[in-house]
Amino acid sequence: MTPNTSAPSRRSFLASTAVAAAVTGGMPLLAACGGSGSGSKEGTTSGKDAQKVLPAFVAQNVVTPDIASKNGSAAGFTSKMSLAELKTSVPQKLGKGSTIKIMSPFWGSPPKSSNPYYSAMNKVIGAELVWQNQDGNTYDEKLGAVLASSDMPDVVVIPSWNMGGKIPSAIISKFADLGPYLSGDKVKEYPNLAAIPSDAWQYAIFGGKLRGLPQPAPTVTGIVPFYRKDVFDKEGYELPTSAEEFLALAKDITNAKAKVWACDDMKWTAFNIFGVLSGGEKPLGWNLVDGKLIYRVETDEYLEALEWTRKLYAAGVVHPDAKAVNQGNAGQRFTDGQVLMYNQNISDWWGKMAEQATQNKDFRISGMDIFGHDGGDPELWAGSPAGIFAFINKKASKAVIHDVLAAANVTAAPYGTKEYMLTNYGVEGTHYTVKDGTPVKTDKGNTEVLNAYVMLASPAPTIAHPDFPDIAKEQVQWQQRMGAFTKKSSFFGLQITEPARYTNLSNDFEQLEDDVVRGRKKISDMQQAVSDWKSQGGGKLRDWYKKLLDDNGSAQG
């Protein structure tokens, strides 16, 4: 019917989508877009070439974590925090008073542009950072347009899930090479940046040059199969240790009449159980087996994982709203008790606990260990060492670049320092109060201290929850146990820009996976798609990767 086209913005329909999908479905579970590029910009940088541009690593010795990072885990801080003994990691402010415009994605309601938190941060940094906090759900569109104009902000923050299509090409042509400021010993001017692990820096090399300021991430899988520990304990359910046991337990739990289903969509866990190569970023899906590179969709494990997930759906143990995909939110169904198991980013471990603490005192969430499908040890694949990057406009003056790095040096301050507290909690008394030695955000803190400054650069992966130190401990221990089973695929840690013509080649698999597990398509359709993929460019892409491997060497070993 036509009258509803009356809105002045006919085009708004054409772009609103991601938004709506994200409002209901949350962020993409795993960022499904890999890198791409065009012309001579494709490829990667590793080995000696990378060594030339990488900043020197100088471990920070200001604060020692209670659980050191191991097997690709985060570092854990589990003892009581002593706010009185916060260390100083930035003894004198390095900024020289430039004004810096920063465009960054933001989820939620941004605070007013002049507020006590931003002023306090800018004062410590010594520069005037002006945040252009953009709606995270339409960031794709805004980013694509802004990068095409000749009038860009000084700094642009780009998460890896927004690096689809031609964005990598833009990163290479529009952003400054930070090598002259950070490579080798130069980084020592910014001690907190020097403490960022080299893995993360290496991943910030785009087109042969160090361009990004990374937000480091643990390389162990981020997807945890969560379960309702309180309900499991009460009902006496035992944690499954094989794919078969999981299915049996799920059938046992499901009671549709009482509006209880065993689980939400478990596809990503199935991939982990069956040892499927990482689907996070495309280069990670390639691995050298007996001298031949294979892609994740070509493996038997991939089909087995899909077949098993398909069984879950067919058995009716998956919540119907999960079958309808964009409907509601798995975490919500979990806390409501409509599903007892779901898989989600590890941050939900603390997130759901904190959310439910005042609501449901009995609520307990826990992550189960990922098991091998046959009951043996699982085979897991490492993820990317960094997920979000800040880039500096190549037209920026030296003074501006210097001040951005000065700001990053503050935001990358490690846990236990005054700068970390300021970045993550704001000003004591204004944004948080201390209760029994634990900082608690005030209303003002909840409105102002959100994801702005943390997007600039972060310290090495850290897990610390002063309110729930036990959860922090469980999380790190889980990561370390899983890390022990984690291997690195051939292109681990390399920032790879695929040739433009292959960028979208593998994009349709995720959709097909969802069709197959929900029973709308057959496994044989997937096999057909894989053979089409090979003939339509998959084979050539394999050759391209093989050459890359021969030229650069592998990350393995």
């Binding site: 994200a22 465009m103 939620g108």
Partner: protein, 311 residues
């Protein structure tokens, strides 16, 4: 020249039924009943979901959690979701922005559209067909986001409120509807005015517009609703959060309740449910309708524009 007269039914009370014309037969009972059933059914089909939405917006997190989603039967009433929306002062500022953009934008759009619709309403006038085709084609051929953004930026409109009005100021659909109604006006009336020496401005102002009040009300509503509910242009063309109109602030407030994975630091614990906030936003979005509806309906009274044929 005959003056245009309006015959407003002079009913004793606003809601009293006008007297049934003598020539109209009494309605049959079956007819009345079936009409009633259809109308009541349609209204119930709308009101039941609306009830769910309102009740959910007024429910606590506990109640929503127990219901496992939207709440049908209210258990406790809390205004916490509305408090959350109205706290922080952003909504007040954003409402003023939206109101101004809607007022100015609608006035501008209506002026341009009414003029264009009249300008195109005389078949065979010079350039009529080409101009019509030029407008019509834009309904089918759109431009990509990047060229549009670059244009708006090079005109210096980014980060100004004009960017929320100018790029999408006219809807060709609305112009075509206006034009169709204008062309339906009795030509004798216009011709006689013309013979008396009236120009096009006079005819538009004194004859066409007064006789087209119903459709002008409708199209004004279309434009106003369009401006009020638009958010995409603001999200692309504005960078300063302090300038954002209401819709964008509302969208962000909903997202705030469900931060994306990995950025969970903003989680606000307590009694508030994200679903309730989402529903509260929807309820508030219905407010303009409640305000505008009577305004439009005044223009829908049967036979109020009878002057046209008497001319």
């Amino acid at each position: 020249m005959s003056a245009v007269t309006e015959e407003r039914p002079k009913a004793p009370g606003r809601w009293a039924a006008p007297p049934r014309p003598v020539w109209e037969e009494q309605p049959t009972k079956a007819g009345l009943a079936s009409k009633g059933i259809v109308l009541a059914g349609a209204c119930l089909g709308v009101l039941f979901p609306l009830w769910i939405v309102v009740v959910t917006s007024l429910s606590s997190k506990q109640t929503i959690s127990e219901a496992g989603g939207l709440v049908v039967v209210p258990k406790d009433i809390t205004f916490i979701a509305y408090q959350e929306l109205l706290s922080g002062g952003q909504v007040t500022r954003a409402s003023i922005v939206s109101l101004c953009v809607t007022l100015v934008g609608t006035l501008f759009s209506m002026t341009v559209s009414v003029l264009a619709a009249y300008g195109l309403s005389r078949i065979g006038s010079v350039g009529h067909r080409w101009m019509l085709m030029a407008l019509l084609a834009t309904m089918f051929f759109g431009a990509g986001l990047i060229p549009t953004y670059l244009l708006v930026q090079s005109l210096g409109l980014t980060d100004t409120y004009l960017a929320l009005i100018l790029p999408s100021a006219i809807s060709v659909f609305n112009i075509l509807v206006l034009r169709a109604f204008f062309m339906g006006i009795s030509q004798e009336l216009i011709d006689s005015a013309r013979i008396d020496g009236a120009g096009d401005w006079w005819i538009l102002w004194k004859i066409v517009i007064p006789l087209s009040r119903a459709v002008i009300a409708v199209i004004t509503l279309f434009y106003a609703v369009g401006y009020w509910s638009a958010w995409f242009n603001a999200s692309i063309y504005l960078s300063d959060q302090d300038m954002m109109p209401l819709q964008n602030v509302m969208i962000q407030l909903v997202q705030k309740q469900e931060p994306p994975v990995g950025l969970g630091q903003a989680i606000k614990t307590g009694q508030l449910s994200g679903l309730a906030v989402q529903m509260a936003v929807m309820v508030m979005a219905l407010l303009p309708v409640a305000v505008l509806s009577p305004f439009v309906q005044r223009h829908f009274k049967k036979g109020m524009l009878t002057g046209a044929v008497k001319g």
